[in-house]
């Protein structure tokens, strides 16, 4: 408003454009909008420039041979591979289907982990005894490198979606849990006292004061945890793959390994192999295959390095 007033005043006081002089600035806000737009364009331009520089130097160095094309791939090669997968299809079916499966695992894992994290975080945050009893176990569980649990889940839950969701969920759970717990603990004493004096019972206190107050903490954690859910889903898929399941990454290892890995890791998707039916129990099957297939993986690595 004040800008417009100022502009109006400027218009009155400015000399009516003398011949030869440029027209007086009559609208400051228009000028400001123009400046903002110019800045925005500059930023877009610079962003494109960064991408061109990075990809260009990658392409260039691999072409000249400073960087080994075999290990690091090549932007043009990746683009070509991606185009083939999009236009034709991958060895496992259409690309979008692979992406969809990974996304499904990610979202499910995210939801399960978040709900558990918030519920248990709020519960322990509100109940001192529970917190004191369980804190040691939660800390201990948190100390486990959780990605490793993906292997455990692949064995115990099987190679279908459940093991991936579990891996994603457990990665999400701890982040959300600790934030929810801390958020509940950090609720301002005054707000709680005020609500109690105003007549809030325990349930109201939790739903109307504690949770809204802790929400900023929880939401902050969701940001990170969605990324972690994706990590969990992909790691789960990788564990599925090492157990003899054909997937894009591992099957492409001997020839196109670096290129296809670089292209889009989350496409990885396990599929139970037909040979699995020959084993009787799930556990022995999983263990047997674990042993059987870890060696080809190593062998192919040896081949790669040797070659």
């Amino acid at each position: 408003m004040s800008v417009r007033n100022l502009a109006a005043r400027l218009e009155v006081t400015a000399p009516s454009s003398a011949p030869g002089n440029p027209a007086p600035i009559t609208d400051l806000s228009a000028l400001r909008i123009r400046a903002r737009r110019r800045r925005q364009l500059n930023i877009y331009g610079l962003r494109v420039l960064v991408a061109v520089l990075v990809l260009g130097s990658w392409e260039l160095t691999t072409r000249i041979g400073i960087v080994d094309q075999f290990f690091f791939g090549q932007p043009s090669g990746i683009a070509r591979q991606l185009w083939i997968w999009i236009t034709e299809e991958t060895a496992l079916g259409p690309l979008w289907q692979q992406v969809l499966v990974t996304m499904e695992e990610t979202v499910l894992g995210f939801i399960v982990g978040t709900v558990l994290g918030v519920v248990i975080g709020v519960l322990l945050g509100r109940n001192r005894l529970l917190a004191d009893v369980f804190s040691i176990y939660i800390k201990a569980a948190n100390a486990i490198p959780r990605v490793v649990l993906g292997a455990l889940f692949a064995i115990s839950l099987g190679l279908d979606i459940r093991s991936k969701v579990a891996t994603a969920a457990i990665l999400v759970f701890f982040v959300v849990f600790f934030n929810a717990f801390q958020g509940v603990r950090e609720v301002e004493r005054n707000l709680i006292a005020n609500a109690r004096i105003l007549g809030a019972d325990d349930r109201r206190l939790t739903t109307e004061v504690i949770i809204p107050s802790a929400l900023s903490w929880i939401i902050a954690s969701l940001h990170i945890s969605f990324g972690l859910a994706l990590v969990g889903a992909v790691v789960g898929e990788l564990f599925g793959a090492t157990q003899g399941t054909p997937s894009r990454a591992w099957s492409s290892e001997p020839c196109l390994r670096s290129r296809s890995d670089w292209t889009f890791a989350p496409r990885l998707r396990p599929r139970p192999s037909s040979s699995s039916s020959s084993f009787s129990s799930t556990r022995s099957r999983a263990c047997a295959r674990w042993n059987a297939t870890s060696s080809p993986t190593h062998a192919s690595w040896a081949r790669t390095i040797g070659g």
Binding site: A193, N194, I197, A200
Partner: protein
């Protein structure tokens, strides 16, 4: 007549984080009659706020009896309003929903609670701000929200813990007058904690002086100034300065004791 608030021989001890015992109040006796406006003054750290916490039931007394409306206090007492020193309005709720919180907690529907809240918002002079959030309001306006939030429950006891200490002098005088006129319509018993003796005399019927910690009531002075009062004008009256002189004599000693102790603990 049963007093509105009665504290008999109340002692309050806290465990310090290092495992020691800190006595905040010792053998405190205090009586507030129904409809009386009392102010509690004392040096920093003498246990003024603790007294309010005991009356409200937020903290239990270690020894002695706390009676509110003739009944011993166990947990949060009914019929109590509490205006906190720092902001305690809910930052995620609009002014309307903040004020409507009390009636909703007492079982009113949201619709009923909101129409009651509108009424109280206009009484504290915030009409037109119903949809604002606390962060969009000035400090004085937030205090008005806090007042409406407490008064909407029509408490028989209103506890106020240095509610206006964070406000600038002009806003403060405005809010004090506002409080007096709101209180005149409710006739609740008020315990108003402050470190400002002038504020205490201008507002209250009776001023309690608490000794340097562990706090106990050193003296209590009636303030026979006529009502309705205007807090800025009343300070010009000769009687005001006379009462001020008397109470300050008492309070000064306690303030000095408290100051000396702080210096010592600072030096130690």
């Amino acid at each position: 007549m049963t007093p509105a608030i009665e504290l008999r021989g109340v002692t309050k001890r806290f465990l310090t984080p290092s495992g020691g015992v800190y006595t905040a109040l010792r053998d405190l006796n205090l009586t507030v009659q129904p409809g009386e406006f009392c102010a509690v003054v004392g040096p920093t750290g003498c246990g003024k706020s603790t007294t309010l916490a005991l009356i409200s039931g937020l903290e239990p007394a270690s020894e002695g009896e706390v009676l509110v409306l003739g009944k011993p206090v166990h947990g949060i007492a009914e019929d109590i309003g509490y205006v906190f020193q720092t902001d305690a309005v809910f930052p995620w709720k609009t002014v309307l929903d903040n004020v409507a919180a009390g009636p909703r907690y007492h079982g009113r529907t949201t619709g009923q609670a909101r129409s009651m809240a509108r009424e109280w918002i206009s009484r504290v002079g915030l009409s037109g701000f119903e949809d604002r959030y606390p962060y969009q309001l000035s400090g004085g306006m937030r205090k008005r929200v806090a007042l409406a939030q407490s008064l909407i429950n029509e408490p028989q006891i209103l506890l106020m813990d240095e509610p206006f200490s964070a406000l600038d002098v002009q806003t403060r005088a405005l809010m004090e007058n506002e409080l007096l006129s709101l209180w005149a319509n409710t006739r609740a018993s008020v315990v108003f904690v402050t470190h400002d003796l002038e504020e205490a005399i201008a507002l209250a019927d009776r001023v309690f002086v608490i000794s340097a910690g562990p706090g106990t009531v050193k003296a209590n002075y009636p303030v026979p100034l006529s009502r309705p009062r205007n807090v800025t004008e009343i300070r010009m009256q000769p009687q005001f300065s006379q009462i001020y002189g008397e109470i300050w004599n008492d309070l000064r000693d306690e303030v000095l004791v408290s100051y000396e102790r702080q210096k010592l603990s600072g030096a130690a």
